[in-house]
């Protein structure tokens, strides 16, 4: 580690009016930035005009790390925003989310349907508003009309929301001719927990445990994004060694998830022996995690201001595990039937991935080299390599995971020699004298996680906005599945492996 510790830049904040929003956003997007987050805030205040809904649009680009926030105050009596859906597909989805949770009306939205709210939610009740109050009773029944695909021989297969096995709830409606999928509509949002609301009012350095539970398999990713956001808001310096330790546990999280996915993808094509061995290897990693952090899923290692490791794993152990899974992968890919099942299945083209705003291995399998470890580094990783494939099929998403395991092993080999066990914090929580906001961006194992927090002078949170990569990637799944056959859906779904809990907060 010869290079200096990177300074995470603060976001450039631009206050903007509704009529100039589209122009500014368009300029940022044309300049190569991506819309990372849109968050509504219900400002309360006693001054005239202070109580209003304020919208923050966060655009990020990198390298070099650039963060630009557009702040838009809506009219207090009637919150509306001009829709950016024509410029950015994710913006349209963020606007629908804001409409459901805050009652902000997007103007000229091409698809102004509900997103988060199921029809049985109380009408006109927007739970994230400061004056929402207790929940009114739910409606007894609900209708959820799907677009009916018509034509000779077209039929529908409804699947879920209750599935066999340990799968989160989601309803999928396939319109099918024979075995070929014409259209897939996914209905999610069955697990709304109000997590963002739970953050509000808590001391900023406290609710890292809540962040770890946003999506159980991304404990480190969300804990780190949250910690970075709080540290950014409070201008809280973190020792470089703590940042290295955080980077190491982030890679450990990537390892155990990718190993599990490799086995599960093989299992979905009926190749059970690869699954058995992947589970054996994952168990080894989970025990290593337990020894390293005291928790099999690496909870408790990352917190605002520092990091804590019980022990530091031996790099040789990591390399042995990586070689082990490499052997399993070689055996699986030499199997012609396995390779045939993965090759050319459910292709997501580069253009589609870019338009949807796909992140993580989904984007990298479709030829988009997005990676927050390069674009928004919190520490310098000399050994960082970012594998990219261009075919966009299940095989590409499988191979990206395989290569990322090797890449993470290289990073860990480098990092583990530079860090030691123990708790690394050097500074107490700084005090703030005025309301502050901060952004944390992390490349979790599933993709780029973005958190944005607002803190008031007493150090408590007024708002935390969380964006899991699944929010961006879910719309890519139906697109990739067009013209795929029904029995390949579980395989495709596993190759995306999106989080329901992280998507529906």
């Amino acid at each position: 580690m010869t290079e200096p510790h990177p300074v995470i830049p603060a976001a450039t904040v631009v206050d903007i009016t509704a009529d100039r929003l589209a122009e500014q956003a368009g300029r940022l997007l044309a300049g190569g930035a991506r819309l990372a987050l849109v968050a509504a805030h219900h400002d309360t205040g006693t001054d005239p005009g202070a109580a209003a809904i304020r919208i923050v649009y966060l655009f990020t680009a990198g390298p070099p790390d650039q963060r630009t926030e557009l702040h838009l105050r809506t009219r207090p009596d009637q919150p509306t925003v001009p829709s950016l859906a024509a410029l950015s597909f994710p913006a349209g989805r963020f606007e629908r989310e804001m409409h459901d949770l805050y009652g902000v009306q997007p103007e000229n939205h091409p698809l102004p349907r509900r997103l988060v709210r199921h029809p049985h939610w109380p009408h006109g009740w927007h739970p994230m508003r400061a004056d929402a109050g207790p929940r009114p009773p739910l409606a007894a029944s609900e209708a959820f009309p799907f677009v009916t695909v018509q034509g000779p021989g077209v039929y529908e297969i409804p699947v879920g929301p209750v599935h066999a096995g340990l799968i989160e709830p989601g309803h999928f409606r396939f319109s099918v001719v024979g075995e070929t999928i014409l259209k897939l509509k996914a209905r999610l949002w069955y697990v709304h927990k109000g997590i963002e609301k739970l953050f509000e009012g808590q001391p900023a350095d406290q609710p890292v445990g809540l962040a770890e539970r946003i999506s159980g398999d991304s404990a480190v990713g969300h804990a780190l994004a949250y910690s970075l956001a709080v540290e950014d808001a409070l201008r809280w310096p973190v020792p470089p060694r703590a940042q290295l330790a955080r980077a190491a546990v982030l890679e450990l999280e990537r390892l155990h998830n990718h190993v599990a996915d490799i086995g599960a993808i093989c299992n979905d094509v009926g190749y059970g022996i690869a699954h058995s061995h992947a589970q054996r290897i994952r168990e080894t990693l989970l025990r290593l995690n337990h020894a390293t952090t005291g928790h099999r899923l690496l909870r408790g290692a990352v917190f605002p201001g520092g990091a804590r490791l019980h022990t530091v794993p031996d790099p040789t152990t990591i390399r042995t595990i990586a070689a082990d899974i490499g052997e399993v992968v070689d055996i699986a890919l030499r199997h012609t039937v396995v390779r045939d099942r993965l090759t050319g299945t459910a292709v997501l083209t580069q253009r589609q991935a870019a338009d949807i705003g796909a992140l993580g291995y989904v984007a990298r399998a479709s030829g988009l080299p997005t990676d927050a470890r390069r674009a928004h580094p919190h520490t310098v990783l000399d050994a960082l390599t970012i594998p990219v494939h261009t075919s966009g099929d299940v095989l590409a998403r499988f191979l990206i995971r395989v290569e990322e395991i090797q890449a993470s092993t290289a990073i860990l080999t480098d990092l583990l020699t530079a860090i030691g066990p123990g708790t690394i914090t050097s500074h107490p929580r700084p005090a703030v004298d005025r309301p502050a906001c901060g952004v944390g961006i992390v490349e979790g194992w599933r993709g780029t996680i973005t958190h944005r927090v607002e803190v008031q002078p007493d150090g408590t949170l007024t708002r935390a906005k969380i964006v899991d990569p699944s929010f961006f990637n879910w719309p890519a799944l139906p697109v990739a599945l067009a013209d795929t056959i029904v029995p390949d859906f579980p395989l495709t779904n596993k190759s995306f492996n999106l989080s329901y809990a992280g998507n529906d907060l």
Binding site: A164, G272, S276, V486, D488, P490
Partner: protein
Amino acid sequence: MSAWGAAAVQAVLVAAVAPLLIGFMRAVRARLEGRAGGRLVQPWRDLRKQLRKESIIPADAGVFFTAAPVVLLATSVLVAAAAPYLSTRGPLPGVADLIVVVGLLLLGAVALALAGLDTGTAFGGMGASREMTIAALVEPTLLLSVFALSTRSGSTDLGAIVAAGAADTAGAFTPASALAAAALAIATLAEAGRLPVDNPATHLELTMVHEAMVLEYSGRDLALVEWAAAMRLTILLGLLANLFIPWGVATSLHPLAIAVAVVVFVAKLAVLGGLLAAGEVFAAKLRLFRIPELLAGSFVLGLLAVITSAVLA
């Protein structure tokens, strides 16, 4: 021992051994995959548990749904009693005929497919449609591959075919029988819903064939369906064993000969089941649209077996 007595012993043996065969195959597979696995008698325990539970019948289901488990089990028991597993001298020579046996197996499959449709659910219909696609290719292969052996005895009676093989074991191994054995083996995999055609271990509804049809069954009905499915695998493996390795099958009804036949039959089943389970460890499930290619290949093997046996006979 009378012919009826031998048939009863055969039916009871197949019914009793079938769940154990499933348990044995799971155990072999678990061991080879490095897992501990369940016990041999676990499928029997599951059956006992399910037999004690009431059946839930979907609101839209009709007579096909309630009748299918009984039809499936009845056809399986009939084939198990009539076909030459222990003795070549069955009490019902007409039923042990090749075409009747294949027809009985098909009757069970059709009953289950109709039951799948009868539930009115998307999964049932999907499974039924896939099962019929596969059955349309499998049944002709079953017929052809056994038919290739019938030229030897000049009869389509399975008892006669096995008896001819047992009388002349050297003559049982011909190019035609090798081709027919390969065709029948692939057809058995497809008919019994094993890898690479269907994955009996999957929980993913959208990939299922056999399991999709029976998703709505519960309690006693599910027990009957699962029991019958295990018996069908035993029936097919047993046919494969006795048609191509006709040693140890009793040609008389002497109790000692039957007793020897029981031991030999169970040993053959264990070997074939073990081989099948070991093979499944190395197999992956084919893409659905590749299955017709595999089955068409097995049909061609069966056809070649018939031609070879006709030419060389």
